[in-house]
């Protein structure tokens, strides 16, 4: 069994987001970039599967991103991935998520992978498009936001649990399949120093647009939504602080919620 983990490098969640003066993007200089926290579960789950099962041949990590994204790849190699693919080309910077999914599908389609793991959503774009779109491009089944994953002994299917609105759903899926990972899917561990050292020697294959046969056609078939006019979030008008005895403030709150906000 071959496992592929598709990851993304994103601004650290505590980073202050500033908008570029032309509004075409956020300011990226000086922003601390990290491996997406949901992808951390994906790589950890992949490595744990490899440790537990003798039939897992390899764990490969793939990233699309600028030169700097190689740092996120090193993090995943230190956790225990065997090798990595870095899709690196300026032509990739302007792709939307569907086009990125189509690109990744073109690169990995003939790679012989049985299982693809990915975080349930990216904490920068907050969309979660890439996983399901990649599964569709490969015509594979996928299960989103999985909280428990078990690959069958024969390696032909998996059982997954996830929390949907108000219920816990248990599904069985034939492999090959794509899973997007929810927080808490597995116990997280931190890379040891020897692993960090070893990570530097693991192979990273870099591919550019010219290495993807029919690149223009692959990405031309889908997507093309253009993000622009970035802005800070709309300010919330200043709120009312209710003062006085508890009995009074509570009465006033209920009145406001009913008459002014019409919320109850």
């Amino acid at each position: 069994m071959k496992i592929l983990v598709v990851v993304k490098q994103v601004p650290d969640s505590t980073t202050n987001i500033k908008i570029r003066p032309d509004g075409e993007d956020i300011e990226r200089d000086g922003v601390k970039m990290v491996l997406d926290p949901f992808d951390e579960f994906a790589i950890e789950q992949a490595v744990q599967l490899k440790e537990k099962r003798s039939d897992v041949e390899s764990v490969t990590v793939l990233i699309v991103g600028p030169q700097k994204a190689a740092e996120a790849l090193r993090t995943t190699l230190a956790v225990g991935a065997d090798d990595a693919i870095h899709l690196l080309d300026e032509a990739f910077d302007t792709l939307d998520e569907l086009q990125t999914a189509a690109l990744i599908a073109a690169v990995v389609r003939d790679g012989g992978y049985d299982l693809v793991l990915r975080g349930k959503q990216e904490i920068d774009l907050d969309s979660g498009q890439l996983g399901p779109a990649l599964a569709e491009a490969l015509d594979w089944p996928h299960v989103g936001a999985v909280t428990r994953l078990e690959v069958a002994a024969d390696g032909k299917s998996l059982a997954a649990s996830r929390r949907i609105e108000g219920a816990e759903e248990r599904v069985e899926v034939a492999l090959p399949a794509l899973i997007t990972c929810e927080k808490g899917l597995c116990e997280m561990r931190y890379p040891s120093l020897p692993n960090l050292m070893k990570a530097k020697k693991k192979p990273v294959k870099t591919l550019a647009a010219a290495d993807v046969p029919g690149f223009a056609e692959v990405i031309g078939r889908v997507g093309g939504a253009r993000m622009h006019r970035f802005a800070p979030p709309p300010e919330r008008p200043p709120g009312k602080i209710l003062e006085g005895e508890t009995a009074e403030t509570v009465k006033e709150l209920v009145r406001l919620l009913r008459e002014e906000a019409k919320a109850i």
Binding site: S13, T14, L98, A101, G166, V222
Partner: protein, 327 residues
Amino acid sequence: MTNDILVFVEQRDDRVHPAGLQCLTPARELAGKTGGQVVACLIGEGIDQATAALEQAGPDRILIVRDPALKDYSALRYRTALAAAVEHCDPKVLLLPASFMGRDLAPRVAMRTGAALATDVIELTLTDDGALDVVRPLYNGKATCHVTFPADRLAIASVRPNTFAAPTGGSAAQKEEIPYAPAPGDDRITVKEVAKTGGDIKDVTEADIIVSGGRALKSEENFKIIYDLARVLDAAVGASRAACDAGYQPHSRQVGLTGKTVTPKLYIACGISGAIQHLAGMRGSKTIVAINTDPEAPMFKVADYGIVDDLFKVVPALTEEVRKLEL
């Protein structure tokens, strides 16, 4: 391509998801500009009650894809069914609720139909040259951006729940059945079990009102006052990461960056200071109430109404006051 606006109206167990009906409001506005019709699509088994509820929201036409195989949501079967509806009516725009199901399904249908896609949008309009233009929040709500679609292909957008009010007062719509023709391999996902969780308390992602507690609750037992208030409001119970990490509540109730993102009509934050990672998950709520002893708590900066007081006094009093309303 027609000028019609197609809306996927999610249902489970023959109950329509409110967020699906809410999509009909921006759909009607867009249809007014394109001169097309509002077409709603229901997918499932049975779904008579869902169809009746949908008619109240006034779409011009309803496409029904009905099959025993569509009883439970499967990403494969539903993408096949919805892609068939897209092919049948060839709309200019497809809207879905940005619910769990809508967000899971939209990217597959977009890839399958060669469309473009934006997720979790809060404003929708058409540009002068007839392309869909939407606004969506991103970077945990720390920014918004416009997304402009190519005019020459299907535009798909999932709409953030509780951004629009569902239309009412509709009457009978024209109904058409579309057969579900399974695509090869659609049976590769089997739903084994759907177990309801949370007892009589709703999940944070499906409630109009959320009462949320932080570490200031100090224990799991003390969360009882949060649950009492939630019951009288027919609300869900949420919690901060600190409260979940301390074991007061399960992580399934966690609101925030690494928990769930919610946009209810009313969010009542009790003893939650308002760390960035929590605000990321709830700042899109329509009305926010903060109850905290610390007047400097960041939650007061996003709150519409604040009470600087002890939550152990305020929350039970609030429960009593709401009970008097007999909602």
